[in-house]
Point group: C2
Chain length 208, copies 2
Amino acid sequence: MATDRDTVLEAAVGVLSRRPTAHMDEIARAAGISRATLHRLFPGREALIREVGRLGLERFAAALDTAATERGDAEAALRRLVDAAVPDAMLCAFLAGENQLYEDDDINDLWEVQIARLHALFLRGQQEGVFRIELSAAWLSEAFFDLVAGIGWAIQDGRLAPREAAFSLAELFLGGALRRPAAAATPAAPSPDPTHSTSDRKPETDIP
Amino acid sequence: MATDRDTVLEAAVGVLSRRPTAHMDEIARAAGISRATLHRLFPGREALIREVGRLGLERFAAALDTAATERGDAEAALRRLVDAAVPDAMLCAFLAGENQLYEDDDINDLWEVQIARLHALFLRGQQEGVFRIELSAAWLSEAFFDLVAGIGWAIQDGRLAPREAAFSLAELFLGGALRRPAAAATPAAPSPDPTHSTSDRKPETDIP
DNA sequence: AAATTCTGAGACACAGATGTCTCAATTCGG
DNA sequence: CCGAATTGAGACATCTGTGTCTCAGAATTT
């Protein structure tokens, strides 16, 4: 039984991330409380959804904080962000689904701030030569968040082991985002490689 | 004005991919028709959603067909799939949101078949040494579809230019999925790099 | 030009979810 | 051990969206 607001929110995420249109009944049952108590804790469905969104954004903001994304090497910062964000991947999955469905200005502002911080990280990484410049920072931000959300869905549905989550996300994303796969961890780049590998090759349409 | 069923479905996708809970009013207005005509074309909301899902899955199946993902080099096959799937990225975005929300067995079967085909492509690529084996084929499938959906959302909201879509998707994903970034596309690899880049490095948690 | 067909607008009932209330039961605290 | 507070279950009104219908107007065909 979960009478605490935060505990109820956690349970609500579990339902809403996979089924955004879940009824109050289901949410209440998922939290182990009655619909009446749920209404006592939150004035209404709208308020509940808003609180879940706010919780998700605050968690993601906290992940950005603990990762200190504006400090140090960009690749290391991103790896720290992965580790910090993966535990709240389900929240991010909910946010990705609800995305720009909010009418509350506070929530939208909070959302844009976090996206801006993510964008700044990738932009900084590009300026430092860590991230590839052929891919826009906006797309990198978007793709990163999409993959975090995908991690959340996959974990929740049992398609991905939680222990593998951070590794899978970091390896897949960094492999595509890093400019030089192995050279970025240290401040001094050892051997600049002019061949950008798959950077400017055109996709092939013909079948061999 | 769009009286054609397929044209209406296209318009419906534009609304439903971003707002899965859109009312029949909005869908009708988006299609430029009245709610009455929308009901004449589709028996009800449930049928409409099902038809949109079926259209999306058929388009994705067609993309897998035209890409001939079971033939030839796995990387080239994936690049062909990217080119074939990106035009229907919005459909995939809708599917990603609706995911396993369907109760129709036909739709679910169709869905699983396509996922299995995607999975088979990655498994084959791993067996051929093209794709990394540290990342499970299931995760690669999931992540690929998530990114296709992300492309759809980004294009629809104007955050990504349609011309950049296929390139951005292919480069980011292949960069993280390919075992050796530059060696697989052309028969003669320009400069095979033995360092496996970010493959087996542990994520770093400490702040420098 | 006339007739047929199709569309759009509106009205209507129905179903489902939400929000509010009351009351019994359980739990917690004194 | 008793009183206060909180919870759960249910009833109830309300509201929103859906599905169906009718009818007038427009478009197409003959």
